[in-house]
């Protein structure tokens, strides 16, 4: 009887101890898991900020590309409207070139020298005008 009583006590103690041990181990594991999660979150924080910044820059870039596309469309439209004017200019240049060729051909048929009639000129006076003084070697 006495032995059965102690066995029951021992079993109770053993169960108690096991429970406490389990609880302690569980608490430790939970604590370690918590610390690990906190470290992971802390390590990922800069990456998250960078991702957010890249996303923001991407938005800005997208807006600029859109604006450039709009501008390109506008310029392309204007260039297309200039096409007829350029065609007219090229036609005018062709006409000018043809005229220049005709002038060149006519000039080539002109004589290299043209005999001019004698012209009575009034030659400059050979003697010097009267002067008030003469500048020159002074001797001093």
């Amino acid at each position: 009887m006495g032995t059965d009583t102690r066995r029951g006590l021992h079993v109770g103690v053993l169960v108690g101890v096991s429970t406490v041990t389990y609880a302690a181990v569980l608490a430790g594991v939970t604590s370690l898991q918590s610390a690990s999660d906190a470290a992971l979150i802390s390590a990922r924080d800069p990456i998250a900020r960078t991702v957010a910044s890249v996303a923001s820059d991407h938005d800005v870039l997208e807006r600029r590309v859109g604006a450039a596309a709009d501008r390109y469309s506008s310029v392309a439209g204007e260039y297309a409207s200039l096409g007829p004017a350029i065609d007219d200019l090229e036609l005018t240049l062709d006409l000018l070139a043809a005229t220049t060729r005709r002038v060149g051909a006519s000039a080539a048929q002109l004589p290299a020298r043209v005999a001019l009639p004698s012209v009575r000129s009034a030659p400059g006076r050979l003697t010097a005008p009267a002067t008030h003084a003469v500048t020159g070697a002074s001797g001093a």
């Binding site: 004698s118 012209v119 030659p123 010097a128 005008p129 500048t135 020159g136 070697a137 002074s138 001797g139």
Partner: protein, 344 residues
């Protein structure tokens, strides 16, 4: 100052102005001449290199300071410290005791970068080397004489000091003053050109005069300060017109020392009116000079040759198929010379 002095003046103050001019030149000669034994400059030169400061009058002080400024402005090409060189070449002035001054004649010319004078207070000067104020002195005398004449209220006048001329106001015919530029090859003959001046001065540096033989070679008075020797550089004469007669002297000599190869570029860079005669007798000038030149002998001779009769008998002077758009006076003169030599 060894030069013939002449004045044309208008108005009732003409006689008084002439008296002022004569007085001024006498005073300037007493202060600035290196040929007069009792001149102030000679006394100053005698103490050159001794470190002794001499008390001098206003004219000599002004002249030495102007000479030093001219040395700086011209980059050292104008430098009056050539007295020893002139004496060594045989052009003697009053005795300043050069033989007792160390390095006064033969030296390494390291002094070229140094100032000409040290001013020890107002009115006191000290020289390291003796100087010859020469043409600059005459230019300053002209400046001072003109100022004294103007103060008398003379309406118009011309002062001619041996070829350096200053004019102010109207000429006698109420027009501009007409000045001839002497032909250095024939000083007494027809001028090379005639220019009209208005309130200007004109000066010429020429080797048409003051040439002599020394130890079997021909030398002259225009000394290159960097070598101490006469400058034979392809030029016979240089004439410059400036407002101030002293600076006309400075620039005529400076441009002469530039030499025939570079004078055109230097004169153009400097601006202003300048005429020069190359050693082949050709007269050239700056654009500013051309605008005040009313007659050029070479051009007049060319006009005579290509006149009505010559034009038909001289095919060399006919219009070429590709005529140059612009002919300079020197080109025209060269053409005339070629025509003359071929016909003669």
């Amino acid at each position: 100052m060894g030069s013939r002095l002449r004045m044309i003046a208008l108005g009732p103050q003409a006689e008084a102005a002439w008296a002022e001019v004569v007085d001024e030149f006498a005073a300037a000669d007493q202060a600035l001449s290196r040929f007069r034994d009792g001149a102030e400059l000679v006394g100053l030169d005698r103490f050159a290199g001794t470190g002794v400061a001499i008390r001098v009058g206003r004219r000599l002080e002004r002249a030495v300071v102007t000479a030093d400024r001219a040395r700086r402005v011209t980059g050292g090409r104008f430098d009056p410290r050539i007295l020893g060189d002139l004496e060594a070449l045989g052009e003697h002035g009053a005795d300043v005791g050069l033989e007792t001054q160390p390095g006064a004649v033969d030296d390494d010319r390291r002094w070229l970068d140094e100032p000409i004078t040290r001013r020890i207070g107002r009115g006191y000067l000290s020289l390291d080397r003796p100087i010859d104020l020469g043409g600059l002195g005459k230019g300053l005398a002209l400046r001072w004489a003109a100022a004294r004449s103007q103060r008398l209220g003379v309406a118009g006048f011309l002062i001619d000091a041996g070829g350096d001329v200053v004019v102010r106001g109207d000429a006698p015919d109420r027009g501009l003053w007409r000045i001839g530029i002497e032909d250095p090859a024939a000083p007494t003959g027809s001028p090379l050109a005639v220019v009209e001046l208005d309130d200007l001065a004109i000066a010429t540096s020429s080797i048409g005069n003051r040439r002599w033989e020394h130890e079997g070679r021909s030398v002259h008075h225009l000394i290159d300060p960097t070598t101490g020797q006469p400058a034979w550089n392809g030029l016979l004469a240089v004439t410059v017109a400036e407002r101030d007669p002293a600076w006309a002297e400075v620039w005529s000599k400076t441009l002469f020392l530039a030499g025939g190869m570079t004078i055109a570029d230097e004169a153009r860079r400097r601006g202003g009116a300048a005429w020069w005669v190359r050693d082949d007798g050709i007269l050239e000038m700056t654009a500013a000079a051309r605008s005040s030149t009313i007659w050029v002998r070479d051009e007049a001779e060319l006009d005579q040759r290509v006149g009505p009769t010559a034009a038909s008998s001289s095919p060399r002077l006919g219009m070429p198929s590709r005529a140059p758009a612009f002919v300079t006076a020197s080109d025209a003169a060269a053409t005339a010379r070629r025509a003359a030599s071929s016909s003669g």
